[in-house]
Symmetry: C2
Amino acid sequence: MTHVPITGGVCAPQGFLASGISAGLKRTGNPDLALVVSISPATVAGVFTRNNVCAAPVKVSRARLEAGTGRAVVINSGGANACTGAQGLSDAEEMTRSAGAALGIPAADVLVCSTGLIGVHLPMDKVKAGIETAASSLGVDDELAARAIMTTDTVPKLAAVASPDGWRVGGIAKGAGMISPNMGTMLAVVTTDAGVDRDFLQAALGRVADRTFNSITIDGDTSTNDTLLVFANGASGITPSPDDFEAALLAVCDSLSRQMVADGEGVTKFVTVRVTGAADHAGAVTAARAIAESTLVKTALFGEDANWGRVASAVGNSGALARFDGLTISIAGVAVLTEGTPEGAHAIDAARAAMAANEITIECDLGVGDARADILTSDLTPDYVNLNAEYEL
Amino acid sequence: MTHVPITGGVCAPQGFLASGISAGLKRTGNPDLALVVSISPATVAGVFTRNNVCAAPVKVSRARLEAGTGRAVVINSGGANACTGAQGLSDAEEMTRSAGAALGIPAADVLVCSTGLIGVHLPMDKVKAGIETAASSLGVDDELAARAIMTTDTVPKLAAVASPDGWRVGGIAKGAGMISPNMGTMLAVVTTDAGVDRDFLQAALGRVADRTFNSITIDGDTSTNDTLLVFANGASGITPSPDDFEAALLAVCDSLSRQMVADGEGVTKFVTVRVTGAADHAGAVTAARAIAESTLVKTALFGEDANWGRVASAVGNSGALARFDGLTISIAGVAVLTEGTPEGAHAIDAARAAMAANEITIECDLGVGDARADILTSDLTPDYVNLNAEYEL
């Protein structure tokens, strides 16, 4: 059966509660502490940052995840708890103990995420008081939780789908490390009331992450705190087919990751870089990522300049195998280079006009095979530079 | 004997002439065609772009270089002659034939460089007429040649040194592909009247390039046209010791590469990223380059924000081996992180104040060995974005 989009986030599936409150971690007084809780034990899977400098909460959650089950995750914004040494590790563990005590469950069943500035210790008195408040505020308004994990995000990010069979998948997320990089974090929590085998859940999450969160890039920086968690509590009483479930998980993660790109700092263009004709999938991803991360391509996108030479140069630098003298490139649906032959000034003018749209696709065929890959990205704007020139919480 | 800096560029050594004229390739009417000529046969060495999409003049010059000798190089701005197919290759060869005819030397003794927009054919009538004019304008004013190869550069770049023994090394250059990337080209021509063995010249040039032009980065994009050539005509009658010569070559290339960074598009900060304590030299370079190319580090430099968390995160992403929980970082001479322990708010404030300087050093000790590397870079500014959002010649 095909799932359908519905409103809501982590509380769309049965048996999940959430809250978002202000613990006083942000100078602004905005919400900064969230809880997502399953009313019954759930299987849990996770994907974490590959940055070798990883935050204390990542270390704690990764260790907790080995059990394969869990009940809750506590998330704070206003401080990444990264590069904080032994004290930071102790603080992250203390957050799980406090949440466990407030919820009446073992600390071992609580995961933890943090987002914010690197290198600053969390004010644990405020954090612990906030956890008490959050535990006593649990409800089904998951937008409050989505707001409490925001940093430079301008809108909360929620997505959910329902299967006609009676199970659901929902999620909340905040800007990717690649989007709100000063804060250094992409966080996402996904829930489902479907019954899902633990090993399959982890494997499916890895595949879905590669096709969604790992296929977006704003500035090429992977944060110290990136975390994607999924809780499956089986509250619907239904165990969907693996394919059905993975498709629904993909839909929710795809929506959340697209919301991240659209809400990128200073972004004016939502860009799909599509590489085709690659020798293999890895080559397609390598070339697409090189195009998407080229400062020159990104500034040209901002300027609505159909500068395909920068696309070709990025492919040449990427290390991907390609017929370098026979590339085919189109920008915003207009062919500008065909098997190495420029289409000329009329095509450039037509492409420039088409680049006025907010959503733009850059396609590049490498001419050496059948593999393909999409990477979602954005333009690079003066606003992005100014936003990141000095960020204070 | 120690060499000393002198004024001038490629005409500082004996037996070299140069010219720079306007052939009408730039809409502005600014000079756009240069010749550098040795009055006698010279040994020649070269280093070229590693971009797999490389321009026609790079292909032609690389082939010419195999002979190991040459007399002249013709350089145009106003068009990169890259991604221009068979016609582009024929045009580049035609440029060497025209220059050879005008100078009365074989085309095989002429090298060629181009810089400008990718994907546009050169107007060969103008180019050939310009070569005639340039050949009849040869003199010892090498600043005209340095101006004729400029694209987005704001100042011409020349450097020269003299040995007390009576030989000299001089050079001219234009902005690195990494600095004026829309134009996609870093070009440099170095001359010497010392007698230098051809194999040693090529080997020394490779070593010097790694320490100078290959150790600067503005935006991480390597262009399709990057070319560094050195001509040694022996006109001084002196054959210096290899160490003496390489030191002088290094001094000239170091000066030219620093001039490129200082004249980077929109640049307000000249930044040295110094990585120490690496396991090996490759690791030091990898980490230093990751820091220097991080969009977040570069925007923080523009904002004079001592955000060391971004430096640590860049190291974590680089793949270099490091004691990730025990990094030591200083910014603008102020220690902000010592073996993993933050120095606190006072240090951050002191570092911010020190970052008001135009020249800033970021130092990061990886804590795992004795290897070190410097990479020169700049900040990333709104002016850079605006300059690159739409570039027209």
